[in-house]
Amino acid sequence: MSKSIMDWVDARLPVTALIKSQATEYPTPKNLNYWWVFGSLALFCLIVMLLTGLFLAMHYKADANQAFDVVEHIMRDVNYGWLLRYMHANGATFFFITVYVHILRGMYYGSYRAPREILWWFGIIIFFLLMATAFMGYVLPWGQMSYWGAAVITNLMSAIPVVGEELVIWIWGGFAVGDPTLNRFFALHFLLPFVIFGVVIIHLWALHAVHSNNPDGIDLDEHKDTIPFHPYITIKDLFAMGVFLLVYCAFVFFIPNFFLEPDNYIPANPMQTPAHIVPEWYFLPFYAILRSIDFLGSFSKLAGVIAMIAAIAILFILPFLDRSPVRSFRYRPLSRQLFWIFVIDCFLLGWVGYNPADATRFNGALPLIVVGRTCTAIYFGYFILLWIITAFDIEKPQPVPKSL
């Protein structure tokens, strides 16, 4: 019975064939390590965010006079509203953790190299969209950090020559961040996740066209070196999801405010600037890069914005900067060292971004702005050095296995 129904459907829409070729029997490298689970974890996060966000939206009011109160109403009066909100707020943090690991995994194993450039590019587009969505979502609770974070970041647009000032007013819908800003940010925060979902599908399409890279970074023999996605990868991803959920739920249920700034539990007050405005942790490295360009006089602001955007946009040309004959850093001793310096550098940038711009260490002997500039130089230096050591054959890769 069910078979004949499926035959009827398949004759009109080949569902079974699609599931077979793209899911159950889709060939995956059999040597994938656990760093490869973060892609599906990120997808899981997206679904968690979409669902919790949908139900939050049913109770939320995008009104500058009501937004703060209504979030507390959700926390206190809505059945399991506290759970929805804490899952959503911490979900953003865990979404970024998975995405950052996913990106770094791609960078380490050369997953951006031919023939996976388009797959990589759509990943970066997702990352950009994610940052925009997270930024606008953070504004919605309308606390002090929401308000002043929005003010600081939207103000950056004013650095754009000629149209900057007008543009900022247009984005605000007024002469300051206010009710119209909150309304449009809510609309966009609801829309963008679906755009992300669409780009994720393209990302997956691109993946399935070229298939997964693997820790050795070599082209695999389709028959000898691959295993079907189901049950091998499905069960592995499920196990990873279990571990991920354990950590995520530990935060949601036991330290839900760990990643939230206390200031955001103070209602937005346009008349009172917080002592120290900090963005969410996942923006901190880029915020540090923005602030580290302060030595160009009146061009500093624009240059800072360009540097901040370039810090992510440079990933687009990474496939062409890396000229090594070998994809995986497993067989590239110099690249490997550069990579780990890059990772440490990102953490340092985050730490600099968290501190006030004029902070110093060692009794004023070490202004953090100097650390920030150095780390910014190292950040971009990674990409330049990677190009130099590969384009001029400075790095001698180790022998790579022909097959698994």
Binding site: M75, F239, L246, C249, F253, P262, I266, W340, I344, F347
Partner: protein, 275 residues
């Protein structure tokens, strides 16, 4: 140790050390209290909540609101209907009303220069959380501190020993005698000094003194006891769903542990064929 291992270790250390939670920045370190409702199994002490609610209503609410809580909700931790009605009526409120202060905001602004903030979220809205609120309540000058300040101001001399003593009492760096002197002058001008409030001076005079409230349960109403109780109450007011959250959390974690172990066992079984 080879360079690679070193780099990986540093990266791991950075991942652990750098994302520290929001701690109080600047000023003296907050004294940390042990809060029974912290931790995975932490619970609100019902008796402390009752005492704290009394302090909040009789002392804090003279100026501050706790607007996200209705008087009625106090029944959740053991107040009787009659007690709730009595507490509400003392503030000229109905038991269904939100816990707002009878003080007129305009009058408050005239008297204090600032609007007294709503306290519903105060323990979540400051770096240091409950410890900060407790520190501010107990961070006013003690009688001994006052006597010392008085003595120094009368002498007009700040000896090395007095500077040391004052700097620890006021929470100011002993290497900044000018700052200490400035603070002394402002204390003398009857400004409200607090050791832990950022900037040290605030509009609120010391709200709680020994014996401000009489506890019906016979517990001695010392400054420390009342501060502990009222902060416990305010922590509840900031998140009345805390116990529900942790209780559900324990069940969820237990379920996830079992689920994950099962996934792992099945994964091992399935992958045994591949290796």
């Amino acid at each position: 140790m080879d360079f690679m291992k070193f780099l990986k270790t540093v990266a791991l250390a950075a991942a652990v050390v750098l994302p520290q939670p929001a701690l109080a920045s600047g000023g003296p370190a907050l004294p940390t209290q042990s809060w029974g409702f912290h931790g995975i199994f932490g619970q609100f002490d019902q008796a402390a909540l009752k005492r704290g609610a009394r302090v909040a209503v009789e002392v804090c609410m003279a100026c501050h609101s706790i607007k996200y809580i209705k008087f009625d909700a106090l029944k959740q931790f053991g107040f009787s209907e009659a007690e709730v009605i009595a507490l509400a009526e003392a503030q000229s409120h109905n038991k269904k009303d939100r816990m707002t202060s009878p003080m007129d905001p305009v009058a408050a602004k005239d008297t204090f220069g600032v609007l007294p903030p709503d306290l519903s979220l105060i323990t979540k809205a400051r770096k240091g959380y409950e410890d900060y609120t407790y520190a501010v309540l107990t961070g006013y000058l003690t009688d001994a501190d006052r006597a010392l300040v008085q003595k120094v101001m009368e002498d007009g001399v700040l000896s090395e020993g007095e500077l040391k003593e004052l700097s620890s009492a006021l929470g100011v760096d002993a290497h900044q005698p000018d700052k200490v002197k400035e603070i002394l002058t402002r204390i003398q001008a009857n400004e409200n000094f607090n050791k832990y409030f950022p900037g040290h001076f605030l509009a609120m005079p010391q709200p709680i003194n020994d014996g401000s409230v009489t506890y019906p349960d016979g517990v001695e109403s010392s400054l420390k006891q009342m501060s502990q109780d009222v902060v416990t109450f305010l922590a509840w007011a900031a998140e009345p769903t805390l116990m529900e959250r942790k209780a559900l959390g324990l069940k969820v974690m237990l379920y996830l542990v079992i689920l994950t172990v099962m996934f792992y066992a099945v994964k091992r079984r399935i992958w045994a064929k591949v290796h």
